[in-house]
Amino acid sequence: MNRIQQQLSAKNKILSIYFTVGFTKLNDTKSLIEELARNKVDVIEIGLPFSDPLADGPTIQSSSMQALQNGMTTTLLFEQLKDIRNTVDIPLIIMGYFNPMLQFGIENFLKACRQTGIDGLIIPDLPLEIYLSDYKKLFDSYGIQMIFLITPQTSEERIRLIDDNSNAFIYMVSSAGVTGSKDQFEENQLQFFERIARMNLKNQQLIGFGISNKITFQQAIKYQKGAIIGSSFIQFISKNKISDIKNFINNIL
């Protein structure tokens, strides 16, 4: 079992937090990760900013813009993460768009992930088919897990194919839409959660897009192993200090 699988099987519920590196300050990355890990966060998604984040709503768009203006780059991220495994042992995942990785060089990127102790990647605009034909071997050779998204529109056949080709978790997009916060989930979303839960997939699932508070988190873990919070955490951190993160987490758990 890899570190992600170990963590998901060891815990009965998983809270994953996404943040954009370089936001609000360029060099907050390490202290943000350490503070999240200290406060019962189980998996961290490190968001690599991109100029044109197609799958993201206004909150992550503007945090990405700010991060880029602050001077965030792929090279700098890996420098910041250099010693992260001395202090943090929970799974760390990089979420980013494909173009910056392509320019860094996919093999270089995977090598840097392995050296810094990154466990997996979420790349919304790298489709399953191209991953399988062009990149899977390379990912496997560096031991980096690829994490795929599914949505309420994803066919059962495709979900099975994604399950067969995953060794971490499946990222469930709660509804058709870009990232952003919601107060609570609607009936058709809960039906989607239930439908996926009944598929008995090999991989655990985490729900993302729309998780913002205790209600949505509880709704999510009723059906799935856990949930991912992004936009709502970005909003919090834009107004609060890193040392206040415990307040945010206490409001969720």
Partner: protein, 395 residues
């Protein structure tokens, strides 16, 4: 047909193209990929498409022998008059095709992106014609500089939504349209206006625009007793008018293809949209293509005086034509384009769109032989740009 330059079965032009879309868009893009050829090849589709192009758009558009221009530049110069299409540009060829597809796919809500507003107007027009809801995303900067087209879209019943992220131009309008599509996957059809975006869009749009080169061949045969010209010249933003004008000549290697990009204030001025000169391979709007970007892979803000060429990428077909040297790429500055625009107005009595004026600026740069047949795709008329022209020349 040979596919040296055209799309292959996997949606790639050489190493460019493909469909790099988030999973949220996969079902829609895949459904379109599976059905676009079948549906658009059905006789009932072809009949309806051709009838609308003839009776509604006003096709075939003339291939006009520009006598005074020919004398001035010492070649036989023909102008393909796409500016005479209903709504004033070639864009409507594609929107007619896509709206017929959308209807057959049972979609009820149409979204589009627009730069100069020509594609927005063409989309709003066909939505009115078919009684479908229409939402057009347009950069806030472009809404300012292309006000007449905004008014036209509104009059046609479309809702114009301002894109306020990034440089507030075509790239950002496209981002917003894609986000809308992600949020409305069931009822919405996205009518892309250029040969950009994920496969099958570049091929689908090129096919709908290919009527331009099909007509050129037929018209040249009548006028010059030959099908193929020596040169075809067209401007390229995303590249839909160029794709249409080049399409039937792609495999005719003797026909020289010239793609004209916007150099803005100069290719290396930092304010340019000359993608072939400044771009590297990357992913934009679901397609692997040449793209203006930083070393770190962030897409950079392009600049051109013409909103329709103000785009940091080019369609994957054009990236392939550039890489294989099948087409020659020439970059033209704002100044050269504006001067070519006013020169065309005063030589031939035709006011071109500023986008189109870029193609005419090539006449000053290329040497032709007197017997050369040169076809310039006159992709759009300049009514929308009168403000920019009058301010620029202080008319």
């Amino acid at each position: 047909m040979k596919t040296t330059y055209n799309v292959n079965e996997k949606g790639f032009y050489g190493e460019f193209g493909g469909a790099f879309v988030p999973e949220m868009l996969y079902p829609n893009v895949e459904a379109l990929r599976q059905q676009y050829l079948t549906i658009s090849n059905e006789p009932s589709f072809q009949d309806e498409f051709k009838a609308l192009l003839r009776d509604y758009v006003g096709r075939p558009t003339p291939l006009y022998y520009a006598k005074r221009l020919s004398e001035q530049f010492g070649a036989k110069i023909y102008l393909k008059r796409e500016d005479l299409c209903h709504t004033g540009a070639h864009k409507i060829n594609n929107t007619i095709g896509q709206i017929l597809l959308a209807k057959r796919l049972g979609k009820t809500r149409i979204i589009a992106e627009t730069g100069a507003g020509q594609h927005g107007v063409a989309t709003a027009t066909v939505c009115a014609l078919m009684g479908l809801q229409c939402i057009v995303y347009m950069g806030a900067v472009d809404i300012q500089r292309q006000a007449p087209n905004v008014a036209r879209m509104k009059m046609l019943g479309a809702e114009v939504r301002a894109a306020v992220s990034g440089s507030k131009t075509l790239k950002d309008a496209t981002n917003e349209a894609i986000r809308d599509w992600i949020s409305n996957p069931e009822d919405t059809f996205y009518i892309i206006g250029s040969v950009v975006g994920p496969h099958p869009y570049p091929d689908m749009v090129a096919r709908f625009q290919s009527v331009i080169s099909a007509e050129i061949q037929q018209q040249l045969l009548e006028k010059e007793s030959r099908q193929n010209p020596d040169y075809v010249i067209a401007c390229v933003g995303g590249g839909s008018n160029a794709a249409g004008a080049f399409y039937h000549f792609l495999e005719e290697e003797k026909v020289k293809l010239i793609a004209v990009e916007a150099a803005g204030k100069g290719i290396y001025s930092g304010e340019s949209a000359a993608t072939s000169a400044l771009g590297k391979m990357g992913i934009i709007h679901g397609s692997k293509t040449l793209l203006m970007q930083t070393q770190d892979g962030q897409i950079t803000e392009p600049y051109s005086i013409s909103a329709g060429l103000d785009y940091p990428g080019i369609g994957p077909l054009h990236a392939h034509l550039f890489q294989t040297r099948r087409a020659e790429f020439i970059a033209v500055t704002d100044k050269e384009a504006m001067q070519a625009g006013i020169a065309l107005a005063q030589t031939e009595g035709i006011i071109p769109a500023i986008e189109t004026a870029h193609a005419f600026a090539v006449l000053e740069q290329k040497k032709f032989r007197p017997e050369d047949i040169v076809v310039i795709n006159l992709s759009g008329r300049g009514d929308k740009d009168l403000n920019t022209y009058t301010n620029y020349f202080d008319l």
